[in-house]
Amino acid sequence: MAVRVIAALVLVVVGSALDVPIAIVLGVVTLMLEVVNAVWARLGLRDVRYTRRLAGRRTPWGGEIPMTVEVWNRRRLPIAWLRADDEATAGVTVRERQLVDGTEPGIEVLRNAWTLRPWERVVRRFHVGADRRGVFMLGPVDLTMGDPFARRVAFEQRPETDTFLVWPRTVPTTEIEPPDRWGDLDRARRGLAEDPSRFAGVRPYAPGDSMRRLHARTSARLGRPMTKRFEPSREREVLIALDVQTIDGPAWEAGFGSDEVESLYVVAASIVRSLEARHVAFGLLAAGYTGAETRFATVPVSSSPGQAQRALDLLARLSSHASAPFERLLTMAARTVHPGTTVLVLTARDPRPFAGALRRLERLGAAVVIVACGRDAAREAARARAAGFTSRRAAMDAHWESAERLVIAP
């Protein structure tokens, strides 16, 4: 700009000195264009409001979240052009727009431009998704504006970001084991604690029994105190232990096959959906990074509404590489798992290296079921059986991106 101003002044001076009005005209026009540019630069983007809104924070793989982008010119002058470059994590897709490459690798840009009348407010609607599961971010946004002659005049980076999750794909799943029906309920096959909601008769009062357990009617009828008995608790509790590592070796140096890992996540997510549909209390454990400081990712066992969402959120966040050895995860699980819980081990590896940790879980009263996934699922399931564990083989009818069904069979 300074060069143009100096050149313009030179033109004016030379034109004056040599009595050539045309040079003065050219100099003055150049100078005034620069003045207009400077005035516009001074106004800047102060009165321009930019808002991005996501209608949701999560979507399943293949789904989309409606998004609106709103700009508002809050000044009395029109804006020739306003460009907003929203940074987007690589993998983000926008149905209505092709993203352009950003200045940094792994960053793409959703580019929007407007021409705005005075006080004009414009809302654009988009649908964002992603080509894979994960945590995706939109923002910060770079705003650039043009002066009335459409020259770039102001730039500002606004830090607002929006994050959304893309859950792994889910497919219909067969039952892992046949349900144990009790009345109209779906029960686990074993249970240690009593379930106070399942009355199972009476027995004579014994010292130490709670008075609240006395069965008033029977005690009155028999003339001696009788205590209520209950069925053992057989609420199904399933803890999914996900082995993020897909290649044997130390967790910190093992690589991963992208497809292999995604398949594993699709199996995990499909099982989560299936357990939720059957109102089973379930939880999820994995040794993967989620963006939080801990190495282990946990969703405690629960049957409360929203549990599947919590588990799928976690699956969306989990890194594709392991954060710690799977044995350590299982050892941690042994400290908190309830007796009677079914521990569903999802792995694409040979289960023998962590057989010790699994046996410890069994000794604590948990039922361990190994679900072998991946290309060698049949072989790993056989190995697990040979090691003395109940094992299943998870197989999808096609590549995870197009599969229609997940079969979990012995």
Partner: protein, 494 residues
């Protein structure tokens, strides 16, 4: 409106920047043609119309013939450009008569008869350069970037020619330069918009306000430039004429250092060189320019062409603006595709009054225009509005009147009377209580004192705590801080 006309309108609006770029190219080639004619002491035979035709021919050739010829196109283009130049050269009757009379022997004389005619060849080439649709802002920017200093140089060179050729050239060139600038800047702006809009949803045709602003600014800039060319020259010459001898005198009295001396010698050498060149060219500075302040013009004076140039400019600008606005209007009326409406909603929103950015001047104007507050509520509102422009003492959007009063009191700027005023406001507005006349008057008095005090405090350097001690308070109004003392007093009274 049927779909076919709407497509035509769309195509026309897309073509517009290219056409304007061609006008700009035609204008500068016409100026150069005029310069060549001036050097030959002839009347220019090729004007802007001829060069525009040549540029259009170049564009059409590049778009129609170019793609079909493939590798042979560059050579064909050169031949066509030469042919175009030849046509331009032959456009002068004198050339034709010399060629007819003397054949090849009169080639030199014929060339000198219309040297500017060959610029139609250059216009043809520039037409090829601007043949991209939508227009390429880079090409237009380059043309402007080279054209501005280039035309200045042409003008300086033309100024060296002896009159009357000099005056004629400057008169024609000023109009040509203005057309070049206006058409070029307009073309650049529109082509930038078109380029930005591709794939990002911008469409300048939706913004007639911007088009109007652009036209106004262009007209203003051009008129100001032409006017300045009449006024600035003599002023600068006067300033230089007064300043340079004075500086020289001061330098001679005080003494030059080695560096200053070198600069002085170099400047004198350059001045002598320029003077020698001017003398060799036979040019002479116009007497009017040498005597500042005398605006007497002669028929040969280039200043006389200013009204003509402005007239040309106004006509070009009006035509361009009307064409753009009509096209934009027609385009806006076209039946929109359903997905367009789904994608975007536009409306004019002046926003909430409180959200609007307001200048201090406007606020002061409002305050002075209002009557004096008549009751406690009006007094409190007026005070809050007064403080709104002072960040340190204003009430923040999420702050309640009591919180605001408490904050100011704690910071040492405010006083308990603001709590009382806020409490009075709450009693009336929230509690539905009607204050007595005396209470209203007391509140108005408090507000006036507070205004003076708070404005003074933020204007100067307030002493923490000093304000609260100075403010006289009524004993009966004293209450627990933050508990709306006024409200309590009111209940006690019943």
């Amino acid at each position: 409106m049927s779909r076919a006309p709407s497509r035509a309108v769309t195509r026309a609006t897309v073509l517009l920047p290219t056409l304007l770029a061609l006008v700009a190219e035609a204008a500068w080639t016409a100026v150069v043609a005029g310069l060549l004619a001036a050097f030959a002491f002839r009347d220019p035979a090729v004007g802007i119309g001829a060069t525009l035709l040549a540029a259009l021919a170049g564009l059409v050739a590049a778009r129609v013939i170019g793609p079909r010829l493939g590798d042979r196109w560059p050579w064909t283009a050169v031949l066509l450009a030469l042919a175009s130049g030849l046509l331009g050269w032959l456009a002068a009757a004198e050339v034709r008569s010399v060629v007819a009379a003397r054949g090849i022997d009169g080639a030199g004389e014929a060339l000198l008869a219309n040297p500017g005619g060959w610029m139609t060849g250059a216009a043809f080439v520039r037409g090829i350069a601007q043949s991209r649709i939508p227009a390429d802002p880079h090409a237009i920017g380059t043309a402007l970037g080279i054209g501005v200093p280039g035309l200045a140089l042409m003008a300086v060179l033309g100024g060296m020619v002896a009159d009357p050729a000099r005056s004629r050239f400057l008169a024609d060139a000023q109009a040509g330069v203005l057309v070049f600038l206006v058409a070029g800047i307009l073309a650049l702006a529109l082509s930038r918009q078109t380029l930005l809009g591709s794939g990002s949803g911008l469409d300048w045709r939706r913004n007639p306000a911007w088009l109007a602003l652009l036209a106004m600014l262009l007209a203003g800039v051009a008129v100001a430039a032409v006017s300045a060319s009449l006024v600035v020259g003599p002023v600068i010459v006067t300033v230089l004429g007064v300043a340079v001898p004075s500086l020289l005198l001061v330098g001679l009295v005080v003494g030059f250092d080695r560096r200053s001396l070198r600069i002085l010698v170099a400047s004198m050498a350059v001045a002598l060189l320029v003077a020698a060149v001017l003398r060799a060219m036979g040019a002479r500075p116009s007497p009017e320019a040498q005597i500042p302040g005398i605006g007497v013009t002669t028929p040969g004076d280039p200043n006389a062409v200013a009204p003509l140039a402005i007239g040309v400019l106004v006509i070009v600008l009006l035509a361009a603006t009307i064409a753009i606005l009509v096209l934009a209007r027609l385009w806006m009326r076209r039946p929109r595709a359903a997905e367009d409406d789904l994608l975007e909603t536009r409306w004019i929103d002046h926003g909430e009054v409180s959200e609007q950015p307001r200048t201090g001047r406007r606020r002061r104007g409002i305050r002075f225009g209002r009557p004096a507050p008549a009751d406690a509520v009006a007094a409190y509102r007026a005070l809050i509005e007064e403080l709104a422009s002072r960040p340190r003492v204003r009430r923040e959007p999420g702050e309640t009147p009591a919180e605001h009063a408490g904050r100011l009191r704690r910071s040492g700027v405010g006083a308990l009377s603001l709590d009382l005023l806020a409490a009075d406001y709450g009693l009336v507005r929230y509690g539905g209580v009607t204050l007595t006349g005396a209470e209203d008057r007391r509140a108005i008095g408090r507000a006036a004192r507070l205004r003076r005090r708070l404005v003074a405090a933020v204007g100067g350097a307030p002493t923490p705590g000093a304000g609260a001690a100075r403010e006289p308070e009524r004993p009966g109004d004293a209450g627990t801080p933050g508990e709306a003392p006024g409200a309590r007093a009111r209940y006690r009274v019943g």
